[in-house]
Symmetry: C2
Subunit: 328 residues, 2 copies
């Protein structure tokens, strides 16, 4: 039975949505248990008695806050995130999920769990919606300055995740660039292109505008560019919705139209919401770490736990290690 | 009277939309004339006789094609884009507009017109919609690898354009980065932040998601990142529309709703369309060069010409030169 350690106190809204997400996950799937790390007294009150045999507790009151400096977390051994990661390190849990300080989680996971053999830098991967389904983009923030070797490793890690966790047999790998032609790119992507060409499933450069068209399953970039990509896409959906709402409010016909189409809008929102994707796996560290958004609601937490289960059951890290070995 | 040289043959659809854009522009504003560079016989046929006194021709049959290598354009002295730029160089025109090969236009403008004193690298600036109006983003493609000095110069050029052409008195300048805090960024943006801090109107880092919120009037980045930003925003609008249409088609209620809201959608589309923005000014070269999208329709061409008029009447290049001088 897989054991998932959950940092119950991290996140912008403290424990209520996290606890609810855990309860919903336990109700929906049977083959796992949860270790809640946080204020045991408060947490215990909210749990239905029939689920208590699948939940255990590690009691702590200390929370590492969003505004703190991520490197300080290594000294905060009583914090919920530190204790949650230690459970994985000590083989008392198989995976950790946190909606707390993402930089702190990443530092702890990298240092306390260690990197997969051959990986120079772990990467944060995120799922984004596409016309045909979902694409995995990495890195989206861990490494703002990269070398081409890093991008090659990201590609290998992304491919392994797509195969093992997303269930895609032959995932198509693309390199984010400013044009589709091989000659397009900046210094980093041009060099990376030469290395990626050796991968069987590499389909070449992909432009920002084609990310969502389903041409690729995995898109590789440095963490700075990945962050710009992710935030721009979110921001564009935001302004689109805002402007549309403002246009619609100017006519009663349009208002009525909006009411009639509301279900379609809701369904679209669900497709685009990060809640559905759960969290971002940290790839390249030993064991499984899922980094959830600070604003995660119970749906996002539930899906992050499900992602952790799939990851923990897979052979992704062996796969990454072997692939990297075979490339050198 | 301002004289605008128009490359009538560049662009994906050859001369018809370009010619129509010129005619529409001449009808709407009186204080300028156009020099059409291209196949005179074909072009002359489409022009109403009452406009012929404000149009002159430079006849040529050679067109520099989109698939050609931009550096080759320097040898293609008979091509419409080469001849159009030469008109500006020889003071026979005050501005040039082209929807042809953008790399070729940039090379020609930089080499034949020369750079503004103090500018190391010209930049392509583009207007994007925001909640409050429009923002200018530069560079969006000319310079894929940059130094911090380049980004400082882009900021100065963008500020000058916002003041002189967009009519914003104190344009707020932002630096595109992966977080708002001063400490966030990659090597390039961290170094650039230190230089930009010396500008009075610099408001700090801005994230991809806040670009459209109206916090800034000018956003500065390297050309690679700018391209990713621009294309991702376009791509997101594309997938949003596509998914919404697919959701709406699944229910008759929603279909009716869409019909009722159609005007609102159209108005939104107009706000987001690049046609309304006309073209991208090439900043940092002597005289005015407006680079239009290869797929420009007549509205885009008309607006590109209007942009050229404003640019040509302004003191933007003196302004850039003086500002750069004062920074060193």
């Amino acid at each position: 039975m897989i054991r998932v350690a959950v940092d119950a106190m991290g996140g912008d809204f403290s424990y209520p949505p996290i606890l609810q997400g855990c309860i919903d996950a336990l109700k929906e799937k049977k083959d796992f248990s949860i270790i809640l790390v946080g204020d045991e007294e408060a947490l215990r009150k909210g749990i239905p008695s029939n689920l208590l045999d699948r939940i255990s507790f590690v009691d702590t009151k200390d929370v590492f806050l969003m505004e703190e400096n991520s490197t300080d977390v290594l000294k905060r051994k009583e914090s919920s995130i530190y204790k949650a990661v230690e459970l994985v390190r000590n083989k008392q849990a198989d995976a950790v999920v946190s909606a707390g300080h993402s930089g702190a989680t990443m530092s702890l996971a990298t240092i306390r769990l260690g990197r997969v053999k051959g990986v120079d830098r772990p990467a944060i991967a995120t799922l984004m919606p596409s016309v045909t389904g979902r694409i995995l983009v990495l890195d989206v923030g861990a490494n703002v300055d990269c070398e081409s070797e890093n991008l090659l490793q990201f590609a290998i890690m992304g491919e392994a995740y797509a195969k093992e966790v997303m269930g895609i047999k032959e995932p198509k790998i693309g390199l984010l660039s400013n044009g589709e032609e091989d000659c397009k790119g900046n210094k980093l992507t041009k060099e990376s292109h030469k290395l990626l060409k050796n991968m069987k499933n590499f389909v070449g450069n992909i432009e920002g505008g084609h990310i969502f068209s389903g041409e690729c399953d995995v898109v590789v970039c440095d963490g700075f560019t990945g962050n710009i990509l992710l935030k721009t896409a979110e921001g564009t959906v935001g302004i689109f919705t805002k402007l549309l709402r403002s246009e619609i409010s100017q006519s009663n016909f349009a208002k009525l139209g909006y009411i009639l189409s509301k279900k379609a809008f809701k369904s679209l929102k669900r497709h685009l919401d990060y809640d559905q994707y759960g969290g971002a796996p940290l790839l390249g560290v030993n064991q499984c770490t899922i980094i959830s958004h600070g604003k995660s609601n119970e749906i996002a937490i539930k899906n992050a736990i499900f992602q952790a289960l799939k990851f923990a059951k897979s052979n992704i890290n062996e796969n990454i290690e072997n692939e990297i070995k075979s490339m050198y």
